[in-house]
């Protein structure tokens, strides 16, 4: 029961549990929302970029290995 009440307060009125020593009273809700949004952005952005590069590399590797299987010497890439 106590857990349910605590969860309900946390979900329905998170400001009641918000202990922000520096936000002041004005714009607190905006600030909290901005934190959440920017956190999501900062987490998603690097993973998205890494995923993009990895997919690109994966395709390139597949292509290179498919090319290397053809046993003619002229096909091997040179540096």
């Amino acid at each position: 029961m106590r857990v349910a009440v605590a969860t309900a307060i946390l979900v329905l009125a998170p400001r009641a549990a918000l202990a922000c020593p520096v936000c002041g009273l004005v714009g607190v809700e905006d600030n909290a929302t901005a934190y959440v949004n920017m956190s999501i952005m900062l987490m998603a952005l690097p993973l998205g970029m890494i995923l993009g590069v990895v997919i690109w590399l994966y395709r390139s590797v597949r292509r290179a290995e498919a090319g290397a299987r053809i046993p003619s010497p002229g096909r091997s890439t040179s540096s």
Partner: protein, 193 residues
């Protein structure tokens, strides 16, 4: 197993061009740098008390005038895409397009500099308000990157003219310039409005 068949393959298999991969990784780190600045800007603006963000005495950022600079920068990026196509067909034919793209980029930097001088004279300085601090740090960081990328692109143009340009160098310089062009609209949309 396939390695034992036929002649030894080359020692280095560049699955993707070294310069592009290296530059992409660098650009990814740079994108995160600007993401950090933008997120700091957003959070601080959301949490600022009224009156501490932009002082009433300070000018409003000239969004309309900067739209022209933005257009010049984007056009420069598009020109460079076109230059790359030309380069693939015939390297020498891309010389003029690369120069044009470089000049558009330089126009952007010069106009941004003029805008700074105007804003400074109207009382928006890096210490005058939080908006001023963020404006000069973010736009200044982008400006420094633009200057660096222009130097790279200028060297690429010079080498292209003299016929000493390696494809890897052009690709690396291009990748960095696309980053500078691509990150600007985000900054513009976020900071100026």
């Amino acid at each position: 197993m396939e390695a034992t068949l036929g002649p030894l393959p080359a020692r280095r298999r560049e699955v993707v061009p070294n310069s592009v991969l290296g530059m992409l990784l660098f650009v990814a780190a740079e994108v995160m740098f600007f993401a950090g600045l933008i997120s700091a800007f957003t959070i601080t603006r959301a949490g600022a008390k009224p009156g501490t963000w932009r002082l009433p005495s300070e000018p409003v950022l000239p969004a309309a005038a900067t739209a022209f600079n933005t257009a010049a920068l984007v056009a420069s990026g598009l020109l460079l895409v076109w230059a790359n196509r030309q380069y693939r067909r015939n390297p020498a034919s891309a010389t003029r397009t690369v120069l044009l793209a470089w000049m558009l980029g330089a126009i952007f930097v010069v106009l941004q500099g003029r805008e700074w001088i105007g804003l400074l004279s109207q009382g928006l300085t890096i210490r005058s308000s939080t908006l001023g601090s963020f404006f000069y740090v973010i736009v200044g960081a982008h400006g420094l990157h633009a200057v660096g990328a222009l130097i790279g692109l200028g060297v690429a143009w010079w080498r292209l003219r003299n016929g000493t340009l390696s494809p890897g160098f052009l690709l690396g310089a291009q990748t960095f310039w696309y980053f500078v062009v691509g990150v600007w609209p985000v900054i513009y949309g976020r900071v100026y409005f």
